[in-house]
């Protein structure tokens, strides 16, 4: 769906994005993850044709990215504003028409979304009369109203209350089920990792990791297992294990690379305990990211 190839962007004297490449699979939910200042927003501005790369190329659906693709992209920037003096209805129609909808299409689509969110009675309210949470709903509608093939959210949940977060998350997932590709760009990796099936990790303008979430977690797993149980495990047994963490009824164990979870189970199954759950703990993207950055510093 989206292919970024050796893209570089330089701002006066610092390199914001340095030869970044990745390929987003069709109909994926992709996380563009990295700390603040990693170059995510710069990258998004190029994908949304707001700015042009200094070198490198971006392909959308196999074609070199061009202005006419913007009608197929919906972008919700991190810093989002609206014209305070405009009325909700005409503001949304204005933004929809900027994305190429005809007046009639725009009106119909805006009405449909407002109805869906139960806010049709805001039509003639001025933006400045709305609360922050209400304005965020308007922002979201503005992003999706033209039925784009690719939705891009920069720090999507920052400043959202939990109810709006869930509402918008559900709507995004619904759109994804209907075939829309989604990019979440955020430094709050834990916020999106359970939503994404594909991630690109960015640090200091470089792309440091890319791949399917499951593959990455598999590759970076540390053979750590968690057992929840009732009863007591004999201390002689515990001494034979590499215990990472131990609480009442919970044990976290690190296993050597050549042993599997089954070996651990066999070791404790004869103890006078009842096992409630047993699972391998995969690292979070935060941990993977920190490991990768540290590795790089070390090398």
């Amino acid at each position: 769906m989206l292919r970024v190839q050796q893209v570089t962007k330089r701002y006066s004297n610092h390199l914001a994005v340095d030869r970044v490449s990745f390929e987003m699979p069709d109909n994926a939910i992709m996380g563009l993850l990295g700390p603040n200042g990693a170059g995510k927003s710069t990258l998004l501005r190029m994908i949304t044709t707001i700015t042009m790369p200094d070198s490198g190329q971006i392909f959308f659906d196999g074609e070199p990215l061009a202005r006419h693709h913007i009608s197929e992209i919906g972008y919700m920037p991190e810093e989002r504003g609206l014209y305070k003096k405009m009325k909700v209805g005409e503001h949304l129609i204005f933004l929809a028409r900027l994305k190429g909808l005809s007046p009639a299409e725009a009106r119909k689509a805006v009405r449909a979304w407002m109805e869906k969110f139960g806010i049709l009675d805001w039509w003639n309210k001025k933006i400045q009369e709305l609360s922050k949470g209400m304005q965020q709903k308007i922002q979201f509608i503005a992003t999706v109203v033209h039925r784009p093939k690719l939705l891009i959210f920069d720090e999507p949940f920052s400043g959202l209350d939990p109810i709006n977060t869930n509402l918008i998350k559900d709507e995004i997932l619904q759109l994804h089920r209907e075939g829309t590709g989604v990019i979440f760009s955020t430094h709050r990796m834990e916020q999106v990792e359970e939503l994404c099936d594909y991630v690109v990790l960015i640090n200091e303008g470089h792309n440091i990791l890319e791949g399917r979430v499951q593959d990455i977690k598999e590759a970076h797993k540390k053979h750590i297992f968690e057992i929840n149980y009732t009863g007591q495990i004999a201390s002689t047994t515990l001494q034979r294990l590499d215990v990472v963490e131990r609480q009442e009824g919970r044990l976290v164990v690190h296993l050597p690379h050549d042993t599997s979870g089954n070996t651990l189970l066999r070791t404790i199954v004869n103890e006078p305990i009842e096992i409630i759950s047993f699972r391998e703990i995969y690292p979070s993207f935060n941990e993977i990211f920190i490991d990768l950055v540290e590795e790089k510093v070390a090398s």
Binding site: S12, I50, R67, P77, G81, L82, L95, L98, K99, A142
Partner: protein, 439 residues
Amino acid sequence: MNWDKVKLIIGREYLTRVRNKTFILGTILTPIGIVLLSVISGLIMSHQGNESYKIAVRDEAGALEAFLKDSKRFDFEFPSLPKDSLIAGVKTGRWDGLLVVPALDSLTATEVRLKYYTDRRMGLDLSEALKDKIAGAFRQYKLAGLHLDESVLKRLNTSISIDPEPVGKQRRNYSEWTEGVAAAIGGAMGFFMYMVVFIYGMMVMRSAMEEKTSRIVEVIMTGVKPFELMLGKLLGVGAVGLTQLAIWIVLIIVFSLVGSVAMGHSMTGQIDPEVMRQIQTSSAVQANVTKIMQELSNINWWLILPMFLFYFLGGFFLYAALFIAVGSAVGDDVGESQSLTLPIVLPVIIAIYIMFSVLRDPNTDLAVWASIFPLFSPIVMPARLPYDPPSWQIAASALALIVGVWFFVWLAARIYRVGILMYGKKATYKELLKWLRQS
């Protein structure tokens, strides 16, 4: 360039402004404000104090006592006291000053130096008035002494009025009112242009600053190019200006029609006979009004009005482009915007000063070149138009303005496209130059 999107931006800029209550109020109140302002400034300019000066005169020539008469501002006394006690009288406040008139060498002396002892100094106007008064008294004194007849002398004065007559292929005759009417119309148009540049320039600048600080621009930019947005804003606000201008022109026409109808009524005597008599007694005024009306109808409106419209649009686009560039560069930093608007405000102020000098003499080198130079011409040329400048100058000025608008819009676009998306960076002149060079 996607014109559909530009039109969309124009529509938004235009409608949100025109539908606004402040637009409607501003359109109606501005003319009232201008009238009030000119009345008030007229009153202030013509205001005179009424405190009077009590002056003791020691007339050593014995020349003035019979001729120096009291006036509204001056009370003269001729006490026969020695000089020292007169000065003491000034010190104690009995008189405001002591005027010592020396004895005259002869009746035909042309220069007399008087001494005035005082601690209460007069302003420039008042001391001129005093000098005039004393000179007048001396004149009377000399006339009497030389046995001259005042009425004979009066015949030596000749009142001159110059009635210019055209010699070329000019279409019309001139009268003694031509220059005055031209100055009034030229001055009004020049001053109007000056206000247009500031009011609408500032409007566009504020609007760009708002878009940048509210971050709406990031959302808009996914739909349009920076240049399309900038152009849409300039054209939209320009259309607002045109609308306002059109409303004012309609108002002027309506009022002058109503005025002339009322006047027509008074002519046919259907109005209060008292007023009628006043009009008849002031037949000189009446004649002048007719002459001014004649002059107004003689003015080449078919040239002036379209050209005025042209300079209105040209001046607006040129300066609004500069203002919008500054607005995009500074965002919400008010202090920064002030230092960056200075180089834009400066030529406007210089232009208005040149315009005032043009009204006094419309054909100096300065007037000609300033009315061609595009940063000045939108203000200076309208002021020159009623004086029938040569057509080559109008053509050169128009051409230069078109090139100027093109150049400054191009310049502004290069700053705008970088500035509007740039946050957290101080917009210094050095930085702006860097943006200009960026491809």
